[in-house]
């Protein structure tokens, strides 16, 4: 699980071009949107594509993203339970 969390942090930094943020600066429980990392709706789309492409998870309802993408912890938990690759 901790490996997956590290992988997610790396992917988020790389794919969302968070140039000034280091992996250590993202805590597992930090909110990804709003006052945390400050991600926005375009980032949410990027994360949905990432789930599909890298873990084989298709979100039928984009509103699910609201809870899944709450933090690194919630993302990792959801991926562990639903991944097909």
């Amino acid at each position: 699980m901790s490996e997956l969390k590290l992988e997610l942090k790396e992917k988020i930094i790389e794919q969302l071009n968070l140039e000034d943020i280091a992996i250590e600066e993202i805590a597992d429980t930090d909110p990804l949107f709003g006052e945390g990392l400050g991600l926005d709706s375009i980032d949410a789309l990027e994360l949905i594509v990432m789930l599909d492409k890298d873990y084989g998870i298709k979100l039928a309802d984009p509103k699910q993203g609201r809870t899944i993408f709450e933090s690194i912890d919630s993302m990792a938990t959801y991926i562990e339970e639903h991944r097909s690759r």
């Binding site: 794919q15 969302l16 071009n17 968070l18 140039e19 000034d20 400050g38 375009i42 789309l45 990027e46 594509v49 599909d52 492409k53």
Partner: protein, 355 residues
């Protein structure tokens, strides 16, 4: 009667350190290469990190350049934004197309799509200053920037707008360099920028840049010069160029003798510099001459650098030694003609006057 058009401010990010308007080619960046990148300003000083992370290099360069121009003109908004670009944000266009191929048309992400269109720059600038006015992007190869000027000039002359932000931008990315090297448009051997016109090889040194200007039909304290006339020609036989130039000047009630400086677009390509050399030794042989592509490098909107150079010369009344092409001196330059072409096509004439 149509109104006059003034260049009220300038902004530039180029291969030279031009982003600081308080300087005028005080330090020259030389290179010995086949390509050259811009001298990067501190983008973080101009763009919040949350916005910068989705910006391609061309957008970052344009944001700095346009902000500089708006600030110098004392404006927070304009009536219109008109941008010229040969290739737009080609870096993200390449990534987007590569994603389509690599992922079998699946998993396409929004950021690269948003930035893969040519009009991303004008759109981003408009979003940044909340400009809801006319927003247009011209994509006409080596006359992209000039096309913007024509549009802006007509609107200002007819008093359809008062202040227009006009700019030209092109970014350099690996794919573009690789393809242009393959077809021989980039030099195969490094060229020393201090002797670019004597290297005697084919192709040019490829680069990038963003040049923005506020054009207005009202003169103000910051005004650099008046944009008197501009003309573009897709193709002209080399032997007809002198006639075209004389006709252009005649339309503006001028002759060759009225030109205090001629700025030419020689880029050191042995196959195409003849267009300029014929003029240097013929029509313009008695006029002071300057060149600029050893400073700007070559790209579709490189003539924006010449426009910036001309505006600076007319405002400061100084012609930097590094741009002089011949030894004919001029003490108080009042009228400048810029002539540019790329690979024998897309010729342009721009006439500027001190005011």
């Amino acid at each position: 009667m149509s109104k006059s058009v003034y260049i009220n401010s300038v902004g530039s990010v180029s291969v030279q350190k031009t982003f600081d308007n308080s300087e005028f080619l005080n330090e020259i960046t030389t290179y010995n290469d086949t390509v050259a990148s811009v001298v990067n300003p501190d983008y973080k000083a101009y763009i919040p990190p949350t916005q910068a992370r989705r910006m391609a290099k061309g957008i970052k360069m344009s944001t700095v350049s346009s902000q500089t121009a708006l600030q110098e003109a004392g404006l927070e908004n304009v009536d219109a934004i008109i941008v010229g670009t040969g290739l737009g944000c080609i870096g993200d266009s390449v990534k987007f197309v590569r994603d389509i191929i690599d992922n079998d048309e699946q998993f396409l992400t929004p950021t690269r799509f948003i930035q893969s269109s040519h009009n991303t720059v004008s759109g981003q600038i408009a979003l940044g200053i909340s400009c809801k006015g006319y927003n247009f992007t011209y994509v006409h190869a080596a006359v992209s920037f000039e096309s913007c000027l024509i549009d802006a000039k007509m609107q200002l002359e007819n008093d359809e707008a008062k202040n227009i932000l006009v700019g030209g931008v092109d970014e350099m990315v690996k794919y573009h360099v690789d393809t242009h090297r393959l077809i021989g448009h980039i030099k195969s051997e490094p060229a020393d920028s201090t002797r670019l016109l004597t290297v005697n090889t084919k192709g040019s040194v490829m680069g990038e840049g963003a040049h923005f200007f506020v054009l207005s039909n009202e003169k103000q304290e910051s005004t650099y010069a008046e944009l008197v006339a501009i003309e573009t020609y897709n193709s002209i036989a080399q032997e007809n160029i002198p006639n075209k130039i004389e006709a252009f000047l005649e339309e503006n009630h001028m002759t060759i003798e009225d030109l205090d400086l001629v700025i030419l677009g020689n880029n050191g390509d042995v196959d195409f510099d003849g267009y300029y050399e014929n003029l240097s030794t013929g029509l313009f042989k008695d006029r002071p001459q300057a060149y600029y592509k050893h400073l700007s490098t070559e790209f579709d909107t490189a003539s924006g650098f010449a426009f910036w150079l001309s505006a600076k010369i007319l405002k400061t009344q100084t012609i930097p030694e590094v741009v002089k092409l011949n030894e004919i001196e001029v003490s108080n330059p009042r009228t400048i003609l810029i002539y540019n072409q790329y690979r024998g096509e897309n010729h342009s004439l721009m006439l500027l006057r001190k005011c």
